[in-house]
């Protein structure tokens, strides 16, 4: 009984910390409509700042505490709102989500950059050592403090939102932003206030949680648990959120107290409890009405890739890879194999996110399942292992999709995130077990070796031929994605993304379609994971964690999630940067923050990098003469490099330069060309390009006016 009481008190205190974090999240969501995925990471950064001021620079406890809560965190929140979130008004939910996920990824990178994960950053409790006894139970002052703060904050927020003018403006802003403006309210100011308070609450939760949980980037994940409380509160109700937080805290405490930690099967389960509660809360969400169009139309374009262009692009990728193999070392070749392996995982996002509009934050988890399947069933590197990997990951994908079919937008993203965390906290760390007649082998409590993919007629020992094999496999997968886009299935996916309501009234079974695309995408991620495993040699669960899925999604979206080319972009940024940073040391830290930073810039260009580059290069395709000259020039450069007349870096710069020059010449020639179609037909028989806008401006004399 005493144990039960002690656990109850501990649970209530943890619940208090969750409540503080969750109410900050609910506050920013209800007032700005943006679900802040980075909330946990902001709490983690707040705790690190407190450590920096208090422990490292020796400021007194309360000075450091108040400086973080009242100055640094609110300033951080306000600058987030001013610099990033304000521009997101009127963008799609997916863009908002990717941007906040980018802030999360960038924060994690920043924390690792500033506070080395190799060093310990110990934080002591408030009033360390002081305890009081409540009945038979002894509780620390720190815990009591946390709980009292939680109650005070809950009451304070309630008063703020319902009893003060700025609170009422905040609530009105969500309902109808323009109307608030017309009535003399200042929605921008309430958004600013909400972000400042929200970040301050996140930091408070981080500081309170850090002494017990340890101060490390993983703290960001702990506060992710608070998302479960917010979802129980339906992201709107503060009292229900508070209740949800207490339930979470108690479940956590009883789990710690009563689950046998010596048992390998249950050890990880404990840390997965809040996430499982999140998953259950999401599934129990009431059915929302089918969505039609959002009021704000996105400026997205989804060009249909042609077979000719796709085949040429794939041919170029393979040829360029083959040429590159002759110029690099074996170890660099191995790094480059990962570009293509990760590229295949990123490709799996194109049908799911790009075509169907379903956001997944667990793609690396599917990849992990593919990797362990390859490890256990593709023992000698036989390609059959890839088939098994696709099969296993596809089934798991369908199993994940099944309970989440009703969800969309942030709720679906949260559910996939929850699944990813359950896998890396619990399931991936399980020892072998049996389900009926099947032996299930996972990571065997550590790492498992994955054999290198063995293809007939290819020397298995050569890194370089392995690189070419992977380039070919990537291209096959990319062509598969092109085939999906060109099929009726692909059209159905785009239609479903555009207007689920219209699809349903035409007789499309939305759930089945969603299930199909989830399974397909998971299967492809499984193949990618198997390849990734075989480039790594041995795989560990941390290669496939939730945090690894984030940069993948970000970069794929930044690259242009509607095109297969974005996958290559993703691979190049993730594994091309390590190659660069091997020679330029300071770049390593930039590389940590880069994916996040790129995602944050997304609001500006929702179409992505790859379609932009394709548009830039399109004049080249029609200018045969320049194209021939370009190829001759590049062959010449390659020969020069082979004869050691050129180092690698000058060679790379020269190739890029020749490309840019050729494209500029072709563009110039096209602009002067006489067989242009009349402007009034543009847009009817083909889509508008930025060039057309320029032409239109020129004909109407708008450029002069603008100047």
């Amino acid at each position: 009984m005493d144990k039960f009481l002690a656990l109850t008190f501990a649970g209530l205190c943890t619940g208090g910390i969750y409540a503080i974090a969750a109410s900050g999240l609910v506050l920013t969501y209800t007032t700005t409509g943006v679900f802040n995925f980075a909330h946990g990471a902001i709490g983690m950064l707040g705790a690190f700042m407190y450590w920096q001021l208090h422990v490292h620079w020796g400021m007194p406890t309360w000075v450091a505490f108040l400086a973080v809560l009242l100055v640094i965190a609110p300033a951080f929140g306000a600058s987030l709102e001013l610099g990033i979130m304000r521009r997101l008004q009127g963008t799609s939910e997916a863009t908002q989500l990717v941007v906040t996920v980018s802030v999360l990824a960038a924060s994690l990178g920043l924390a690792q950059w500033l506070w080395s994960p190799q060093e310990a950053h110990p934080l002591s409790h408030f009033w360390e050592g002081n305890k009081i006894s409540i009945g038979p139970v002894i509780v620390t002052w720190h815990s009591v403090f946390a709980f009292i703060l939680a109650i005070a904050i809950a009451l304070g927020l309630r008063l703020l939102l319902f009893r003060t003018r700025s609170g009422i403006t905040m609530r009105a802003t969500v309902d109808d932003r323009p109307l608030v403006t017309l009535n003399g309210g200042k929605p921008d100011r309430s958004a600013l206030l909400a972000w400042a308070i929200g970040c301050s609450l996140a930091a408070l939760a981080g500081i309170l949680a850090a002494p017990d949980q340890g101060l490390s980037p993983v703290l960001a994940l702990l506060i992710v648990n608070a998302y479960a409380a917010a979802v129980i509160g339906r992201l709107r109700s503060l009292p229900l959120t508070f209740l949800g937080a207490l339930i979470l805290g108690l479940a956590d405490a009883y789990g710690t107290g009563y689950i046998n930690l010596q048992n390998d099967y249950l050890n990880g389960f404990r840390s997965a409890i809040p996430i499982i509660i999140l998953f259950v809360a999401l599934i129990a969400m009431p059915q929302s009405r089918l969505r039609g169009h959002s009021a704000a139309r996105s400026r997205e374009r989804m060009p249909m890739p042609s077979w000719g262009g796709s085949l040429v692009a794939c041919g170029c990728v393979v040829v360029v890879t083959a040429v590159i193999t002759t110029m690099i070392t074996d170890s660099n070749a191995l790094t480059l194999t990962r570009v293509f392996a990760v590229g295949v995982i990123a490709l799996s996002l194109v049908p799911l996110v790009g075509y169907a509009g379903n956001i997944s934050l667990c793609q690396m988890s599917f990849a992990g399942i593919g990797a362990i399947t390859m490890a256990h069933l593709g023992a000698s590197g036989s390609p059959i292992g890839l088939v098994w990997a696709a099969f296993a990951a596809g089934i798991v994908g369908a199993l994940v999709a099944l309970p989440t079919l009703r969800l969309s937008g942030i709720y679906l993203a949260l559910a996939t995130a929850a699944f990813a965390v359950v896998l890396d906290e619990w399931l991936f760390n399980l020892p072998n077990f049996n389900i009926g007649p099947f032996d299930v082998k996972l990571f065997e409590l550590g790492s498992v070796p994955v054999a290198r993919l063995h293809v007939p007629l290819v020397d298995p020992a050569s890194q370089k031929s392995f690189l070419v094999v992977l380039a070919v496999v990537f291209c096959v997968c990319a062509l598969l994605v092109v085939a999906i886009r060109r099929s009726y299935f692909g059209e159905r996916l785009l239609a479903m993304k555009d207007s689920p309501a219209a699809c349903a009234t035409l007789g499309l079974n939305l759930r089945f379609t969603k299930l199909a695309v989830f399974a397909l995408s998971a299967a492809m991620a499984g193949v990618g994971g198997a390849l990734y495993g075989s480039t790594l040699g041995t795989v560990t669960p941390d290669r496939f964690s939730f945090f690894e899925s984030l940069p993948l999604l970000l970069l794929a979206v930044v690259g242009g999630i509607g095109t297969a080319g974005s996958a290559l972009f993703t691979g190049l940024v993730l594994y091309g940067i390590p190659l660069v940073s091997a020679s330029v040391v300071w770049f390593a830290n930039v590389g940590r923050v880069l994916p996040g930073a790129m995602g944050i810039g997304l609001g500006k260009n929702p179409n992505g990098v790859v379609p932009d580059v394709a548009e830039q290069l399109s004049p080249l395709r029609r200018a045969t003469g320049i194209l021939v000259a370009l190829i001759v020039a590049i062959v010449g450069l390659v020969i020069a490099a082979k004869l050691d007349l050129l180092e690698n870096w000058p060679f790379a710069f020269a190739v890029t330069g020749v490309f840019v020059a050729a494209s500029a010449v072709a563009d110039r020639r096209r602009l002067l060309g006489e067989d242009e179609e009349p402007l009034e037909w543009v847009g009817v028989d083909r889509a508008f390009t930025s060039d057309d806008v320029r032409r239109l401006d020129a004909e109407l004399g708008l450029e002069k006016v603008a100047r």
Binding site: R289, L290, G292, H293, R297, E300, R301, M302, Y488, E491, R492, L494, A495, K497, D498, S499, A501, A502, C503, A504, T505, L506, G507, L508, N509, L510, G683, V684, D685, A687
Partner: protein
Amino acid sequence: MTDAPLLDVRGVTVRFGGNVALHAVDLQAAAGGITGLIGPNGAGKTTLFNVICGLQRPEAGLVRIDGRDVTGMLPYKRARAGLARTFQRLELFTLLSVRSNIRVAADIERRHRRDRAADPNRVADEIIERVGLTEVADARVDQLPTGLARLVEVGRALASKPRLLLLDEPASGQDESETRAFAVLLRELATDGLAVVLVEHDVQLVFRVCDEVCVLDFGHVLAVGPPAEIQRNDAVVTAYLGEGVT
């Protein structure tokens, strides 16, 4: 016209918070006929469409299609029972061309009928010609003027081979000659045996093409009857023009 109505709505009530959007509304539509549904803005016309096609759950009441109770069915099952609709606030697939919009619908229809022989491309071409979209068949739908975009919605609905067609303000944004052509198309569809329910603010058009007109006001059915009768109905005139006008 047959005796049993293809669409039979009985006593449908919908409340949004304290607002009664529909109060015990009845509506029938017969195969081979056009039923007009008119009423001032906010009368509940679109809500009634949403109830019929399953996007809005009613608090009370029944929806029967061809004698079959579909009240609890998901929208896609109702579509497979022969229901199609257009949307007042356009719900076109903006990422696709006009042809693809219609082809997707034809493909979905073919798929659930398990008819491998049907060619969605051919169906799309036929419909494009029938509704008069040939010139813009390959344009992206978000670049069309509203009048044409509404025709794409009609074409898309037709591609699912419905027996019951709900049209939500299909003629708004059309000019006079387009409206005349559209009226001809509507009569053709009825002659083909479809039951058409038409929500439209162009009362002239409604009275010209409809066999039966139902007037909604603040969620209540004000009057039902042939156009000539409705035009003389005092309650309808009052609802539309206000008190004191005769």
